[in-house]
């Protein structure tokens, strides 16, 4: 048995997500544009907040654990609109 380093994408692919076509979390890029602290980028366990080279922020909702960390650590009013996905969608844990 050897320990293999896995990519973050491989890590996320170990969990099941039933992706709804519509995002349950909406991030307002305009509010984030002048945020220099970006707590969400470090704290989101699914690494869904990705800074872009032009100083912006891209958010992907598809592999979200629905934990709530992002809106809890965010210091910008109105930056993150956070809801649960529609019933039956989102993360499905198995051995947690």
């Amino acid at each position: 048995m050897t320990d293999r380093t896995i990519s973050f994408q491989e890590r996320m692919d170990t969990a099941e997500f039933r992706v709804h076509p519509q995002a349950h979390i909406v991030v307002d890029g305009a509010v984030c544009a002048d945020c220099s602290t970006r707590e969400c980028v470090t704290a989101c366990p699914a690494n869904l907040f990705i800074p872009t080279s032009d100083g912006g922020l891209v958010f992907n909702y598809e592999q979200c654990f629905e934990c709530g960390t992002c809106y809890m650590v965010c210091n910008r009013e109105g930056a993150i609109s956070w809801n649960y996905p529609e019933g039956g969608y989102g993360v499905v844990f198995r051995r947690t």
């Binding site: 050897t2 170990t14 969990a15 707590e39 654990f65 809890m72 039956g88 844990f93 051995r95 947690t96």
Partner: protein, 435 residues
């Protein structure tokens, strides 16, 4: 006024919701249990140990049927520095036989099983349904919930909000005065596959016996803790991280787990484990400090939604508090419906039950512990100080004679930069809350 569709709507099919629905249904009430996932437990994740004795009255001999991975017969608490480990290790055969003590279990299994008992009692389980808000009457009393189904309003005499750590229902109702990130920790975990024989050998256990290891000093500059539990043929390894501290530095959660897994005392235990599932969840960590009002006209709040989670260092419990508070909420709802008074006054039996039992007694007794355990001194100074004291106690420096323990402690306290009065104060706080 529109007539209620049912007596009780329970929101959330976790352990609090399942027990609330079970008890209310057994009392003869018409109960609906709503779950937003495809099955109860599908959204749920935790550190890893359930203490199920509260089920003795609800499900006699629950251990014969509960979906348990292993019975915890060995508990270790570790203090780590980069190169040292001090471990207090306890084991007893007693916890490997009925009525047992702690059990490791997968929450999707455990919660699903418990909800099955609610259904068997007559509660109607509706999955794949997210509650999007409360229905309130002109006086502000809760009279039902809105769901995301077409024509999804569901009116009830009593709503029991068991909607978890983010409880948008308790927040919408104004039951939380304020919420503060510093009262929450993020739990992240890896479930790693290892053959059962390997786990038995590495952790020195047999049959269905298992291990629960709590770790302090493994989360770097982020205040928190680590954990390692054995399931039957997987192990669960992870960390809990104080949110503001996590957000204020650059290391990501999975990197903090990776670092802990490389520690010389941890690496041999986890080596070769293949990642089966990565997961994360928030934990309401601050006990009494953060608890909301739990009773209002037409609604009760239970489980994580009411911050009923005990994160007191050597005691880390949540599922038992959820099951108990759910059970008491179910009893109080039945009492109120039968008595024809579902106002906050009619529902006060819930608050009384919480106050008279371990649910709030443990929290009152340990109310200083969560803050102490996550304090900078306990997190960043004491592990090194203790490890150095132990190292010098056991180091044989011949021809130097053995130094006295008092001198070692004083020197190491000073070296760690800990003031004597702070050490005494923390010791006294710990003694008072744990003693």
């Amino acid at each position: 006024m529109t007539a209620p569709d049912v007596d009780v709507v329970v929101v959330g099919g976790g352990p609090a919701g399942a027990c609330a629905a079970m008890v209310a249904a057994r009392a003869g009430l018409d109960v609906v249990l709503l779950e937003r996932g495809p099955f109860p437990g599908s959204k749920n994740m935790y550190g890893g140990v359930v203490y199920p004795r509260i089920l003795d009255t609800l499900i006699p001999e629950w251990w014969l049927e509960a979906p348990v991975q292993r019975w915890v017969t060995r508990r270790s608490t570790m203090l780590l520095t980069e190169t040292q480990a001090v471990t207090i290790d306890f084991r007893t055969e007693a916890w490997g036989a009925p009525p047992y003590n702690g059990a490791t279990a997968y929450r999707p299994d455990w919660d699903h099983w418990l909800a099955g008992h609610a259904q068997a009692a007559g509660a109607q389980l509706i999955t794949d349904t997210t509650v999007i808000g409360l229905i309130r009457d002109e006086h502000g009393a809760v009279v039902g919930v809105r769901t995301d189904r077409p024509d999804g309003d569901l009116r009830a005499r009593v709503v029991i909000a068991c909607d978890g750590v983010n409880s948008f229902l308790a927040k919408e109702a104004g039951l939380y005065e304020h919420t503060d990130a510093k009262h929450y920790t993020l739990g992240v975990k890896e479930t790693l596959a290892l053959p059962k024989e390997t786990i038995d050998e590495r952790f020195a256990v047999r049959d269905r016996h298992g291990v629960d290891i709590e770790i302090i000093g493994a989360t770097g500059s982020v205040n928190g803790g680590g954990f390692l539990y054995t399931n039957l043929d997987t192990i669960a390894v992870g960390v809990v991280l104080k949110l503001p501290k996590l957000a204020a530095q650059a290391q990501r959660p999975e990197a903090i787990i990776a670092k802990m897994k490389q520690h010389p005392a941890i690496a041999p235990l986890v080596q070769g484990g293949e990642l089966k599932e990565y997961s994360a969840h928030l934990i309401p960590e601050a006990g009494l400090t953060m608890m909301p009002k739990m009773v209002m006209d037409g609604m009760l709040v239970a489980g994580d939604a009411a911050a009923l989670c005990l994160a007191a260092g050597i005691w880390l419990e949540g599922v038992n508090f959820a099951m108990a508070s759910g059970m008491y909420a179910g009893e109080a709802a039945a009492e109120a419906v039968r008595g024809g008074d579902v106002t906050a006054n009619g529902l006060q039996g819930y608050q009384r039950r919480l106050s008279d039992t371990f649910v709030l007694k443990d929290h009152r007794k340990l109310h200083r512990a969560p803050e102490l355990v996550l304090s900078d001194r306990v997190q960043h100074l004491y592990p090194g100080m203790v490890a150095n004291v132990v190292e010098r106690m056991f180091r044989v420096d011949n021809p130097e004679p053995k130094p006295g323990l008092r001198r070692i402690v004083t020197q190491e306290r000073q070296r760690a930069g800990v003031r004597r009065r702070d050490l005494l104060r923390d010791g006294w706080t710990g003694f008072r809350s744990f003693g």
